[in-house]
Amino acid sequence: MSFYLYLDRKTPIHRLDPRTKLFILLGSFVIATIQQHPLPATVVAMVILAHGGFSRSLRNIWRITGLLTAIGILTVLLWSLQARGVTPLFWRFQLEPVLYGISTGIKIDSMIIAGMIFLSTTKNEEVAVGLVKLGLPYSFAFAFCTALRLAPTIIGSARMVAQAQKSRGLDLRTGGVLSRMRKYIPLLVPIFLTTLRYTNQLSMALESKGFRAMEKRTFLLEARFTATDYCVNSALILVLLIAIIMRIKGLGQIEGLLF
């Protein structure tokens, strides 16, 4: 069972410079956030999904469809009841907040999907190289990547701990809120201690392998901008500009929405 997200596929997206992939991710975030109406948000979501399909990383997204649906529904409900509008629909619901809720749900899901695609197409080490090339110190880039790397390890040990405690009769399904919270202690203590031990040994292994022994280290993976990278980045800037202009002109806004 693998908890890693990276999928070793040989698509043009995989071959892009990690910086380009970082820009695409950030660009997707910006474009997704500045639209208010569900229509442009849906267009953006479709483009992001197409990007996922092109990079053959949709498998990872199918794995979290449950989560995405839950977030989507919750956001729609929350915003529909929180914001106010002018056109009544039924009961306490009004058209503008519902539209806003739908677009916010789509936006949040789009951002998660964009993040998943990024992690499915970029190795941890490439992220590090990209960040270093962007001028960040290596220690920071490494720490960031280790955090990404640690997540699957912690999930793995959490599963193990949960199985061990379930075998000793721990039942998380019953009891009130307080007693349920108390029931998580037998899970959290071993997970915490295992992680602590893991990071401790990791730091010893790093030190033994000459981590930070030299002022400047080398990288086996190269990050170089190719013609494709220039094209992709130009296109990205163009789309960003269009999105910003649309926003300034007030296109894609929901009229009559009040907070």
Partner: protein, 563 residues
């Protein structure tokens, strides 16, 4: 010629400890020498390794006296990271030292830190992978490798920094026999290359036959040091330092031999030269005892039919298992890592559900039973006790199960008391579980399962990381539980434990059962074992060479030998 390694009067005390982990240790090693470090748990073996590249005292706090000099460099005067080109350190837990997304980048990590140009890094990656037999694995994700392959990758990743001293901390203890042989082949390669000094901490005598020298540590002190051929013959000394002697050596020592043999071939030659023989009558009485035991088994407790299991992601772990286990049996399930042993036993208490087929416990389908109900009948002791210990006191840890199952307070106290007694931890009743040794924590894990009175106890690798003495105590405890009526199912790859304790052996390979029979039957068949990448234990092989005998331990063989 300068000494590759000099350790002078070395003592170390961890910051929070009351006693010295190392106490006036002195030794030297020449370039190209293979030194094995052996001793019981807590002897200071791992601590000694950590001093060799300066992790002690630079990263681990405590009081260090004496000195360690590697190739003229004193560890006190240089940082650990600067020792990377001199000392290659491979830790016991290989999982924690692999952190890259593919094999090539894993090996490249060290050279990258040393700012070596990429073209040379590529060359070093290739060389290192070749020397551990992992060519062609460059693009693989480390998590998808087998235990043995991971360990070899960990070794390659330090070889790429071209160290003069290679330190391996129990490199074979968590591996199946096939993985073990691969690591020993690397040790031989290092030994023959003659430019790398190898320091290896190891529990098993059979694996250090190729060492030039053995250092025996106990309580932080060197108790003996000498050529491996002399040390390994000293059966009494080995036993006293918690090390299992080579079985054939043990047999001849038991028969009063002054210079016992070290290998099977040597042993056979000596046996014939001395004109010894096997008393067939005595041997037959041993096998009859076994038949008697089999007739006493009760009704079928676990009934598995056509069981298949496919994990999320499509990995087929079990491909059609049929199996019955009766009350009172002591079953060992063996096979390579990834053969489906653990997946199979996780079906017995409902941790996993069949993809196809069925599992019945006392006649009831597991799918129709609540996991809580099941857990009271089938206890499960996981491989690593640290994945479950959480309480502040031993007694609370032991009471956790019975409390979950809703027993009244007096019953909980009584059950906990009995379980503590059974696992020999009465003296530690109020101790902090984390202050116990690994072996004691494993016994605590058994006790905490036992307290819920389960009929069947499933143990996954119960002796991992234990020394010989601890393993014997653990297994004697399990045997006692079996004699008191508990059915025991044990997953393991330690064949000497299987041969000395189990009544029945199930051999698995690629999700199927390929052999199932009494321990003597299974161990008499080297081909069946080989199919599962297992090696016939020495005593069983010895008996087969002498005739139609299968001995399960040196003691058993010794009682049958007539001079």
């Amino acid at each position: 010629m300068p000494r590759a390694l000099q350790v002078k009067n070395l003592s170390f005390q961890y910051r929070d400890s009351e006693r010295k982990a190392l106490n006036s240790v002195s030794f030297q090693a020449k370039r190209g020498e293979f030194v094995a470090v052996m001793g019981p748990s807590g002897a200071g073996k791992s601590t000694l390794l950590l001093t060799l590249n300066g992790l002690i005292p630079h990263l681990i706090e405590g009081e260090l006296e004496g000195e360690v000099v590697v190739d003229g460099w004193n560890t006190k005067e240089h940082q650990t990271r600067d020792f990377a080109t001199r000392v290659g350190m491979v830790f016991q837990d290989f999982e924690t030292q692999l952190f890259s997304t593919n094999v090539q980048l894993e090996v490249a990590f060290g050279p990258e830190n040393l700012a070596i140009p990429p073209s040379e890094i590529l060359q070093r990656v290739q060389e290192s992978l070749r020397s551990v037999g992992l060519e062609g694995f460059e693009g693989r994700e480390p998590a998808t490798l087998s235990g043995g392959e991971k360990q070899r990758l960990a070794i390659a990743s330090v070889l790429a920094m071209k160290p003069n001293l290679l330190c391996l901390d129990e490199p074979t203890s968590e591996l199946d026999p096939a993985g073990r042989d691969d690591i020993l082949a690397i040790a031989r390669w290092v030994r023959e290359s003659a430019f790398i000094t190898l320091i290896m901490v190891e529990h098993s005598s059979e694996e250090v036959l190729g060492a030039d020298r053995i250092i025996l540590l106990k309580g932080g002190k060197i108790v003996a040091m000498g050529p491996s051929s002399t040390m390994l013959r000293d059966v009494n000394l080995l036993r006293k330092t918690g090390i299992r002697p080579i079985p054939i050596t043990e047999l001849f020592a038991a028969k009063g031999s002054k210079h016992p043999p070290l290998t099977l071939e040597e042993g056979l030659e000596r046996f014939r030269k001395e004109g010894w023989a096997i008393d067939e009558l005595k041997y037959r009485s041993l096998t009859e005892l076994q038949g008697l035991r089999q007739r006493r088994y009760g009704r079928v407790l676990i009934d598995v039919r056509g069981l298949e299991h496919t994990y999320e992601g499509g990995i087929k772990a079990l491909r059609g298992i049929d199996l019955q286990i009766r009350e009172g049996e002591f079953v060992a399930i063996v096979g390579q890592n990834g053969s489906g042993k653990t997946t199979l036993v996780k079906h017995f208490n409902g941790l996993l559900h069949p993809t196809k087929g069925e599992v019945r416990i006392e006649g009831v389908e597991v799918r129709e039973t609540d996991m809580l109900q099941l857990a009271r009948r089938i206890g499960f002791v996981f491989q690593n006790p640290d994945h479950q210990i959480f309480a502040e006191r031993v007694i609370d840890e032991i009471s956790f199960g019975p409390r979950n199952f809703g027993f009244p307070e007096e019953a909980i106290a009584e059950r906990a008391q009995r379980a503590l007694e059974a696992v020999n931890l009465l003296g530690s009743r109020d101790a902090d579980p984390f202050s116990l040794t690994k072996a004691e924590r494993q016994r605590l894990a058994v006790g905490s399962v036992l307290a819920s009175t389960t009929k069947v106890i499933v143990l996954d690798e119960p002796t991992t990381g234990m020394d010989y003495g601890e393993s014997i105590r653990m297994m004697d405890l399990i045997r006692e539980l079996n004699e008191k009526g508990h059915t025991i199912i044990m997953v393991t790859h330690t064949l000497w434990i299987v041969s000395q304790y189990a009544h029945r052996v199930i051999v698995m390979r690629e999700g199927k059962i390929i052999r199932d029979g009494s321990t003597r039957e299974i161990l008499s068949d080297p081909d069946g074992l080989r199919e599962a990448s297992l090696k016939q234990p020495q005593m069983a092989a010895f008996g087969r060479e002498l005739g139609d005998f299968v001995f399960l331990s040196p003691e058993e063989c010794a009682t049958c030998v007539v001079k």
